[in-house]
Amino acid sequence: MKIAFKLAFRNLIGAGLRTWLNVIVLSFSFVVIIWMKGILVGWDHQAKNDMEQWEIGKGQFWHNQYDPYDGFTITDSHAPIPNEFKPEIEKGEMVPMLFAQGTIYPQGRMQPAMIKGIPANQTLLKIPTHKLDSVTDVIPAIIGEVMARSSHLEKGSRVVLRWRDSKGTFDAAEIEIVDIFSTTVPTIDVAQVWINLETMQEKLLLPEQATLFSFANAEENRPAVGDFRLKTKKELTAEIDAMIKTKSKGQSVFYFILLLLAMLAIFDTQILSIFRRQKEIGTYVALGYTRQQVVTLFTVEGAMHAVLAAALAAVYGIPFFIWQSKVGFTIPMDTSEFGMAIAPTMYPIYSVGLILSTTLIVLLTTSVVSYWPARRIAKMNPTEALRGKIQ
């Protein structure tokens, strides 16, 4: 086997441009596959990280009735804050939130909005809630950039907010947009208006009540408390996992095509080699190789394209990966309304596992593609091969 590697290396290097063309194509596959997978991993990491920092913390407790996909559940999704949560809330490790459906009237237009009450002094989430302490003669409110764009509201804009309190009575008040924050998490931005929790409780006639809680304690097995059930971070980010899985499948098709092109080149080279190098094959046999050893030699030769490609990919790929992980990849379109936590610039993350698994897949595929045509050698008659007469 050692000889096969030595000879295969000599043959490949000796073949010159033909080898390098294949190696360049294959190395390109290496780099693109690793980079794209890195982007997906980076996106997954960024999306979950942003959700954690902006919305869910290490997990949430939801009111039993609460279903974010069913607007009808919102009205009844509230209950008094359980005493068990109060120490955590006081330490700033838990943030209660109260939700209600409402309507805003920017420039006389009617626009539905989810009103969310959150303590102004919370520091667990990155939402700039301290702005809710601004002194105004109306209710101070903050919104995200997407909401600001869709409602044509600016910092300092005043708009009428209407809601229905717990008794079913419609009420309305003017709010002032005291801050517009930028986030990649659409679920806290799109059609959301954030006001102080105490104001919200007062307006809804729901003192000391909340819809859900985000907490900082990562303990997974927290039991349900009163009307509130645990939603782990894993459950809350399941949508991202599902999206990444879907994207990953889509990308797999792309990898397959990319690999297929590279493999076609190698397969073609192998077929051509076996026909062009009949005399060489016959010579190997005459000099003492068994036909099976020649098959191994040609297979190793083909598979070594992948080894050289990995080396070449490392030469230009590693600097590219490092550069990309620093500057990131900016998506050439507006990602704010994708409905997913997608940052405009995504930073790829490469793991050893990702690089090793990609290398292994490419190496195995190349070996199979190299072996396939090389099997023909085992059936060759060496005397005819020596004369180069096999058709």
């Binding site: 000879l7 000599r10 043959n11 000796g14 000099l287 003492g288 190789y289 068994t290 036909r291 005397t383």
Partner: protein, 232 residues
């Protein structure tokens, strides 16, 4: 015969499928070759000389009869055993040299040694010795496309001789060479035959080669027509 028989051929028949029928290339050959012979199978195209050489070289199998080479019955050898025989004891020289084009002269000559258990230092010495026999020590790093036909054939001889095999089989070794190169090559082989006592068997119809042979075996239509021994 100069010494004890290293090749014994008994009633050797070789048939090849041809269309719906068969073509009989060898029709019952009986021959013995001894150590240190410088012999040639002579005959026109289709007389069976290359077929016989291939069977002796265990590259092909007899249809009937037997060829015992260095004590090994060719028809009974497995693929691995025949490869072992070629690897350890046989050297081949071909009409079109059959050098590995992308390898240097050194690497081409070194190739048979890679298959045997020699150290790098041993291989280097043996290759340089073989290249000295054929006068190509100055072409060590050249590749076959950079060499003349005569030089290529001398590399092929060095490759065949480097492991000092018991038997060298040469199929039309001078067919692609001019007269001067042919004589040069043949003189080299003759010297090696004398110095190393290696048995050389040629398949040829080249008069230049025939002139150097000590034993001439004339084949005609797959049979030995007659033999001539030259006393030198």
């Amino acid at each position: 015969m100069e010494n004890s028989a290293i090749i014994q051929i008994n009633q050797l028949i070789k048939r090849f499928p041809m269309g719906k029928g068969e073509f009989t290339a060898l029709k019952g050959i009986n021959l013995d070759f001894g150590t240190g012979e410088f012999a040639g199978l002579i005959g026109p195209s289709g007389s069976g000389k290359t077929t016989l050489l291939n069977i002796i070289g265990s590259l092909d199998m007899p249809t009937e009869g037997e060829a015992v080479v260095l004590g090994k019955p060719i028809s009974k050898l497995s693929s691995k055993e025949s490869a072992k025989l070629r690897k350890e004891s046989l050297g081949f020289i071909f009409q079109s040299y059959n050098l590995l084009q992308v390898h240097t002269v050194f690497e081409n000559v070194e190739f048979p040694l890679l298959l045997l258990d020699y150290t790098t230092a041993e291989r280097k010495k043996m290759v340089m010795d073989a290249l000295e026999w054929v006068g190509l020590t100055d072409k060590v790093k050249s590749k076959p496309p950079q060499l003349s036909g005569g030089e290529c054939q001398r590399v092929a001889i060095a490759r065949a001789m480097v492991k000092k095999p018991s038997l060298v089989l040469a199929d039309e070794p001078t067919a692609n060479l001019d007269a001067a190169n042919s004589h040069n090559i043949l003189q080299t082989m003759l010297n090696l035959n004398r110095e190393l006592k290696t048995t050389f068997i040629f398949a040829t119809h080249d008069e230049k080669v025939i002139g150097y042979l000590k034993r001439k075996i004339f084949l005609k239509d797959g049979l030995v027509d007659h033999e001539e021994w030259i006393n030198q």
